[in-house]
Structures are given as structure tokens and as C-alpha cells.
């Protein structure tokens, strides 16, 4: 079984090579964390199952997430494109940390969806292939 920590490095490389409008969603239990390639940035979004504690919110803000805004019921974190290595690793870390904390503590529960938003064609990032093999 692949672990969350083992996903970070391969996910970081995958993030650097997404096509425009490619997205990757990790979801379970009504919560998700996802990332989409925009023209000049990658946007990560986190939707929690319900209200989170103040400590959890502070931790998310500290990790670079922006609080949900009116009409945008998700936490958001943007990274400029092209990604440098440290930015790719940091974004992957934040996505995996969010998945572990707010989607499912056990990676075995996590499902994923990876597609191009414009064409709806599935994509197969290497990191998620590792996740698929382990499920």
C-alpha cells in the first residue's frame, strides 16, 4: 500500500506537467482536495466535510491556504506557473497534508478523479497510478 508520504514526490513532478485544465481530485467521505492547471497558475482547492476548528483553520492559513470566500465554499491555494522544484514539492505537500487531515486519515479510503476539465478525458498521472495499484 502506498503511503501519503510516498505520494508527495511523484505528485510534485506530476503537477509540473499538467496540461491546461487538467485536474486531479482526491476525495472521500464528502470532502475533497483538488488541483487544476490554469493558464498561469495551479489552483488547489479544499472542501471539508463540515465546519473545522479554529486551530485547523489557523493551520491551513499558516500552510498558505486562503479561507473560503463568499460564493466560493472552498479553501484555495494558488501557485505560479511554471513551478520551481521547491514550489512543486510544497504544493504537493499541502495537497497531501490536506487529504490526510480533511479527506481521509487512511489513504486506503481515498478515491481519485483525474481528467481534463475541458474535454473530460481521463488523465493518468504517475503518482495516481501508484495509488491505483495499491487499491
Amino acid at each position: 500500500m502506498v503511503s501519503y508520504d510516498e505520494l508527495v514526490e511523484p505528485l510534485a513532478l506530476d503537477l509540473a506537467y499538467l496540461r491546461l485544465s487538467d485536474f486531479v481530485t482526491l476525495y472521500a467521505n464528502g470532502a475533497y482536495v483538488q488541483v487544476i492547471q490554469n493558464p498561469l497558475s495551479l489552483r488547489a482547492e479544499l472542501k471539508t466535510r463540515g465546519p473545522i476548528t479554529e486551530d485547523q483553520g489557523r493551520a491551513l492559513v499558516h500552510a498558505g491556504w486562503r479561507e473560503p470566500q463568499r460564493g466560493e465554499p472552498v479553501w484555495v491555494r494558488d501557485a505560479n506557473w511554471p513551478l520551481r522544484a521547491d514550489a512543486a514539492r510544497q504544493l504537493a505537500h499541502r495537497i497531501i497534508d490536506a487529504a490526510r487531515a480533511f479527506v481521509a486519515p487512511d489513504i486506503a479510503q481515498v478515491k481519485y478523479n483525474a481528467r481534463n476539465y475541458d474535454t473530460w478525458e481521463p488523465i493518468e498521472p504517475v503518482s495516481l497510478a501508484a495509488l491505483r495499484r495499491s487499491q
Partner: protein, 159 residues
């Protein structure tokens, strides 16, 4: 990590020549272009192309010129050595790509196209030619291409 890349100063000089050169993309002008770049012709096949040593001290960092009769269609410039499969090298490619894009933006101004994907690319289209920085995973290339040839490549999805 074994990846080696051209320096920021070398890149800035190259992009400055890309910006300021009067090169009109003819084969007879090639010696003058190479002289301005400080490059040395190492092989030339008439009507087909040429290879130039960039003198950057980076293994494999040469330039390949593509000819069509008396026209120069493109110059493919290798800005890095070939990356290994090791993660350190693959991540280093990301840093080189971003750094070269930043240098090019400082010298050439706003980019004309940004193309994320399997081969991430950023382009600056000038009056006669287009400069494209490409992350090909195992390295970073700078493709300086006559606009007509660039348009042809785009039309057939070749990058």
C-alpha cells in the same frame, strides 16, 4: 544531481541577441550570427543544416540549425545537459525551466504564449521569429524559429 545548465548571464546574452539581432534567417548570414553569439560551427550539411558549439561549457549544450535551401528555419539550442532519471535531476529541470523563463521575460518582455503540459513551453513571438523555451523533461531547450516555420509546426502539432 548531475544536471548542468547555462548560466543566467549566458541566457541573458542569448536572449538579448534574440531580441536585437538583425538576422534575416538566410544561410549566408549564419557565420555573422554565430560570431555575434560567440559560437563555432562544427558541422554543416549544405541545404540541410548545421551544428554549432555554443562554448557554454555545458555537456551537450550545442545548437542545431535547420536549413531549407538558403533559408534558416530554426535554431534548436540545448540549454542543459541531459538529465538522468534520478528525481534530483528531474526536479532540477523544473528550476532551470523557470529560471530561463524569468530571464527571457526580463529581456524579451511579456510572453506571447504559455503552454502547460507534457512539454511545458513559453513563447515570445517577434517580428520575424519566435523564441520558445521548452521543458522536455530530460532537459530544457530554446527553440528560436522563423515565424513561418513556427506556424507550420503549430499547424501540425509539432513541438
Amino acid at each position: 544531481m548531475t544536471l548542468r545548465a547555462i548560466s543566467i548571464d549566458q541566457a541573458a546574452r542569448l536572449f538579448t541577441i534574440v531580441r536585437d539581432s538583425f538576422f534575416a534567417w538566410t544561410v549566408p548570414e549564419v557565420p555573422f550570427l554565430l560570431d555575434s553569439l560567440g559560437w563555432t560551427l562544427t558541422l554543416e550539411i549544405p541545404r540541410t543544416g548545421a551544428i554549432a558549439d555554443t562554448g557554454w561549457g555545458v555537456p551537450g549544450a550545442e545548437a542545431e540549425l535547420l536549413y531549407r535551401d538558403r533559408t534558416v528555419e530554426s535554431a534548436m539550442i540545448y540549454a542543459t545537459s541531459r538529465a538522468s532519471d534520478e528525481p534530483a535531476d528531474r526536479f532540477a529541470v523544473l528550476d532551470v525551466f523557470e529560471s530561463l523563463c524569468a530571464v527571457a521575460a526580463r529581456v524579451l518582455g511579456p510572453m506571447s504564449a504559455v503552454i502547460p503540459g507534457d512539454v511545458p513551453r513559453v513563447q515570445w513571438r517577434g517580428r520575424l521569429a519566435t523564441a520558445t523555451i521548452k521543458n522536455v523533461g530530460i532537459g530544457v531547450l530554446i527553440d528560436w524559429c522563423r515565424n513561418e516555420h513556427q506556424d507550420f509546426n503549430d499547424s501540425i502539432g509539432r513541438y
